[in-house]
């Protein structure tokens, strides 16, 4: 489930029916009333900050202007849904942001380009079996995209990623050392949503932290460069 788009007085969400709750949500009709408790945790860095390359920690010599970043939005399967929202916010800035959406799926049928209707940036699909777009995973495509523009551009590239845990781990391993930032959006089954039950945790540099309050968006090095510890009494 993800925020997908917004307009004057409305927001739209994309829901993938995978269980009873998501099926019920997906089946709601116009006029249905829903109690919403937003927002839980954080989101991707704001569009204005992204467009200006202005991200914490911002270690920049005084007076220096940040070079406009290159933005790579990498979505695996349903993970592309929140990236659509990011792209629409970037478009609304009218800053002519340099962003590309990489949208990967296993086969052509899994890459539903209409999810990205309305975005102004470039969209590059990829399929594991080569039936649409780049032949390979979206991680392979991301690596190729970074390599193609050279290390100078890579150094000011910010990657936003959403997809399976394995995909984001692979993206981190392949790209983190070469780009300015990699942000990943994690997910887990959640019960309380307020950081109490510890059911939705991820290993991180700060220990096992709830994704509902400390995430879902993390700097990739905060969650993928740590060993999982299991404590036994």
């Amino acid at each position: 489930m993800s925020i997908h788009d917004e307009g004057d007085g409305w927001r739209s969400f994309m829901v993938k029916p995978v269980g009873p709750a998501s099926r019920e949500l997906a089946g709601l009709g116009p006029g249905a009333q829903v109690d919403v408790t937003p927002p839980l945790g954080n989101g991707f860095p704001g569009a204005a900050d992204l467009a200006a390359g202005r991200l914490q920690p911002a270690a920049r010599p005084t007076g220096a202007r940040a070079a406009a970043p290159r933005l790579l939005l990498v979505g695996g399967g349903f993970g592309v849904a929140p990236l659509h929202f990011v792209a629409r916010r970037l478009d609304a800035l009218d800053a002519g942001s340099d962003y590309t959406i990489l949208y990967g799926g296993r086969t052509a049928r899994d890459v539903e380009l209409e999810v990205l209707d309305g975005v102004r940036g470039a969209v590059l699909p990829s399929t594991d079996d080569g039936t649409l777009g780049f032949h390979g995973t979206c991680v392979d495509l991301a690596v190729e995209q970074v390599r193609r523009r050279g290390p100078g551009v890579a150094a000011r590239t910010i990657v936003l990623a959403c997809g399976s845990h394995a995909m984001m781990a692979a993206l981190h391993a392949a790209l983190r050392a070469h780009v300015a930032h990699v942000f990943v959006s994690l997910e887990a089954v959640m019960a309380c949503g307020v950081g109490v039950c510890m059911g939705c945790v991820t290993p991180s540099v700060r220990g096992m932290v709830p994704i509902c309050t400390e995430g879902p968006v993390f700097r990739s090095e905060d969650v993928f460069d740590v060993a999982t510890e299991v404590q036994h009494v």
Binding site: G19, P20, Q33, D35, T37, A188, V189, M190, A191, C192, G193, V194, G195, V196, C197, M198, G199, C200, V201, T202, G207, M208, T228, E229, V230, Q231, H232, V233
Partner: protein, 335 residues
Amino acid sequence: MSELQSRRAAAPQSGGAPAEFPIRIGPARFANPYFAASGCFGYGLEYATYIAPTELGAIVTKTITLEPRAGNPMPRLQETPAGLLNSIGLQNVGLEVYLRDKLPELLAAGGVPFVSIAAADHDEYVHMAARLAEHPGIVAVEVNLGCPNVDAGGDRDAAEARAVERITRAVKDRLPDRAVAIKLTPNVTDITNLARGAEQGGADAVVAINTVAGMDIDLQGGRPTFARVRAGLSGPAIFPIALLRVWEIARAVDIPVVAVGGIAGPTEALKFFMAGATAVQLGTVLYSRPELLAEVRQGVRDFVRERGLSHPHELRLGPDAGARFDRAGPACAPD
């Protein structure tokens, strides 16, 4: 305005709810018989946006262990048709951080902590109880004897009534002027043995039940869902199980029984009172409906007043209730 919206609007300012149906457990007094269950309410303030800590008679904390614990690997949760399987693994900040950071925060907010503890052995229980005794703000302690999600202790310990008695004595000896409650696991043949062990060890109350052992298998992955295989089931599915255990324990011991397991509304709370409970705990239901606390309070209030009674304890079914079946003993099924 929806119920949830009005609850949320009221919560931060509605602290200091008047005492309603006050109760006593050992030396401790509580303003009402509605507690938050361990593991479901953090250390007390995390839900403050929805439920002011002062609205609850007590907040049973996440179980504290001597050292901080990272808990089990993911996944830790699995939804079931009428409940929730969890394998959290007692992730907690550890005794010292709890006493230094978490306890003062809840006390400052006017909440009543009912501190849940779990230890690896008898000596560790002694040490933890002695540390808790140094804090006068702690009026009650819940000993978590039956968590299915950890290695040491867990069900093996709790299955021994003698061990229950010994651990209870160890804790109560160091906390003579606080309420000491023993939380029991249902994953045993006869929970009343453990309850009697707790009573003989000097417990001020028994808490029943902890989660019911269960598991899940990941169909696509072809392996058990949880790393430890075994997990704990909570939620509406376990209410009938909890109700039976509360009924049996209330007839086996004279000390108060705190009922927990599957409350989904006032109905279950009332049934627990009828079975003989002194207090009830709300747990899993609060994850999806924090407004449930207010509904339970209102529903119990209405039911009690409609019958011209002044306290839910008066709902307790008399000694001859169920006598036709009791004579045959717990091992026999009713005809």
